[in-house]
């Protein structure tokens, strides 16, 4: 087909180069893909597990030789199948798809819950030369705090402040990762907040940014099928998450309050709670 809008939509197969265990439930998988290696922070790809399913993943950046990484949390049949894959196994890739985070200057706050850390780590590395980053990293327990070493080692100390939180208190602040956010918003007055993670966390962050008048961009997750804006599976309000998102501004989130933090579409198109 013509048109640059679907550039990257061709499915290509590639071999898994490496599988790394990040936590009891998360593995990172790396593979070579020239197009996705040029993706911007916030963009996603569709990964085909032959014979099983095809599911979306946020891109964890690529390197100069075209190697791309994604983080896979074991949550269902497809991700379980992917966890069993080894170096050399064949997978299929489409993408990159969607928009990306804007690149802010000055002081930025990143709020990352679980595998929501992926696009924000990619973004933090991209912003390194131009922004001072406060990174709030949250998980259920210490062992599930993924990419902590990479955040610490990848970002220079004078440019980064890392705040961790765990629901069971095994590392950092005990509780949800939105807990320290209020304080950072009040004291550091960041120029921009970026958030990715469970939608309740995003909703709370949104409400706090409304209150403090802080700019905000969040990355949303919805059921993905076509990834090119046709099937309607991923809509929120008037937006299609695959092509109008996955990154949405505070203003756009305001327009989707009837659904944001509340509901999404299930496989048969009816609304279910997020």
């Amino acid at each position: 087909m013509s048109a640059c809008r679907t550039k990257g939509n061709w499915l290509r197969t590639t071999r898994i180069l490496d599988v790394k265990v990040e936590s009891p439930t998360v593995k990172t998988i790396s593979f070579k893909d020239r197009l996705c290696a040029e993706a911007k922070p916030g963009q996603f790809l569709m990964l085909w597990i032959p014979g099983v399913d095809e599911i979306p993943f946020s891109i964890l950046g690529g390197n100069a030789s075209g190697v791309v990484r994604v983080a896979v949390r074991k949550v269902g049949d497809a991700t379980r199948a992917l966890h069993k894959k080894k170096t050399g196994d064949i997978i299929g890739i489409r993408g990159p798809f969607g928009n990306s985070f804007s690149l802010s200057k000055g002081k930025v706050l990143m709020v990352a819950g679980g595998t929501g850390t992926v696009p924000l780590l990619f973004l933090a590395k991209t912003l390194l030369s131009r922004a001072k980053v406060t990174f709030v990293l949250g998980a259920k327990t210490r062992k599930e705090l993924i990419f902590m070493d990479e955040i610490i080692n990848g970002l220079s100390k004078d440019k980064l402040r890392l705040i961790t939180s765990t629901e069971d208190g095994t590392c950092g602040i005990k509780g949800l990762c939105t807990q320290p956010v209020e304080q950072v918003l009040r004291e550091e007055k960041p120029d921009m907040v970026y958030a990715c993670g469970p939608e309740q966390m995003l909703l709370k962050t949104f409400e706090m940014c409304q209150k403090h008048g802080t700019k905000l961009e969040v990355s949303l997750e919805r059921l993905m099928r076509c990834a090119i804006g046709l099937c309607g599976s991923c809509t929120i309000g008037k937006y299609r998450v695959c092509t109008d998102g996955p990154v949405f501004t505070k203003k756009q989130l305001q327009e989707t309050r009837a659904e944001f933090g509340l509901s999404k579409r299930d496989f048969d198109g009816h609304k279910v709670r997020v």
Binding site: D53, G92, R225, K238
Partner: protein
């Protein structure tokens, strides 16, 4: 005021322009349909709705090939009971005609869904008798004239709104099917649904779509859809809606010249963006002016003149 040259009458429905959103694309929610209306669509067709909710197939549901896409979504839909609310909402929000696409596993099911859709306010129903990738419905109904006629008669008896039959190109003679549909009472024909197709990955030696087989759409199928419209126009008297690969205004004009009263657009929303509807209308409008025609209806079927 000068009358709108793009305005068409489709079975009594007034379309401000002859472009329509094709079934299966986006049509779950009023918000997204309203967005398509804002982008200039002259009418909206919903996703195909059945008696019961259906989850559709696992991914991959779409695969890109040269000249188009093959999809096997598997008719995901929330079922008519849930969709009735969406139809009522749509009628309050949309200003263009709203057509509900209907599928079923029997004539009775088609009639039940069509009646409920019409009662909820649908301006017309379009019978999906042509989906190429779900067993015991779609093209399995629409490829046999007698079965198709039975479905249309039941639906016609159940609703007062216009009834469109969306035909499959995967038949020996679409004219025979089209004539049977019209004889049974179809008020318009949509031609066509996707062309049965497959894509295989050479590395894994596996069909890529989860359902293995799907339907081809996009520029590759336009000459096929166009031929179907051309052939039907020679033999049937009801309006024909062209569907298949419309991407630019020339495609739309070709369909009109072949005998279509309006065209439906789907795949081009991915390649051209939702603004494709407005672009098509502008193009058709300029063509009419350049060729000296007052109304779009003046060029319908002109390619048949010898």
């Amino acid at each position: 005021m000068r009358p709108n040259p793009l305005c068409v009458n489709l079975t009594g429905l007034r379309l401000d322009n002859p472009t329509m959103l094709a079934s299966g694309i986006l049509g779950y929610t009023v918000e997204t349909m309203k967005e398509i209306e804002k982008n200039g669509a002259g009418a909206i067709v919903s996703k195909s709705i059945g008696v019961k909710p259906r989850r559709g197939y696992a991914n991959p549901t779409v695969v890109q090939v040269n000249g188009g896409l093959i999809n096997a979504m598997g008719l995901p839909n929330p079922g008519i009971k849930e969709f009735e609310g969406e139809i009522r909402h749509a009628k309050q929000v949309l200003t263009v005609p709203f057509i509900v696409s209907v599928y079923g596993y029997s004539a009775e099911e088609y009639a039940e869904v069509a009646r409920k859709a019409a009662d909820a306010g649908a301006d017309a129903v379009e019978l999906n008798v042509s989906c190429p990738h779900v067993k015991e419905t779609g093209s399995e109904i629409g490829q046999t004239p007698q079965i198709l006629a039975g479905v249309i008669r039941k639906v016609k008896a159940a609703v007062k709104t216009p009834v469109f039959a969306k035909l499959s190109p995967n038949v020996t003679s679409i004219v025979e099917i089209g004539e049977a549909a019209v004889k049974a009472g179809a008020d318009a024909l949509t031609a066509t649904n996707t062309v049965r197709a497959i894509a295989i990955d050479v590395e894994t030696k596996m069909p890529i779509l989860f359902n293995r087989v799907g339907g081809l759409s996009g520029p590759a199928v336009k000459p096929i859809g166009l031929r179907c419209v051309y052939d039907l126009y020679e033999r049937v008297k009801v309006p024909i809606v062209g569907c298949g690969g419309v991407t630019n205004w020339q495609d739309a004009v070709e369909y009109l010249l072949a005998g279509a009263t309006a065209v439906q657009v789907g795949t081009a929303i991915a390649t051209e963006g939702p603004a494709v509807f407005r672009t098509l209308s502008h193009g058709i409008s300029s063509y009419l002016k350049r060729k000296g025609y007052e109304r779009v209806e003046d060029i319908v079927g002109l390619s048949h003149k010898r």
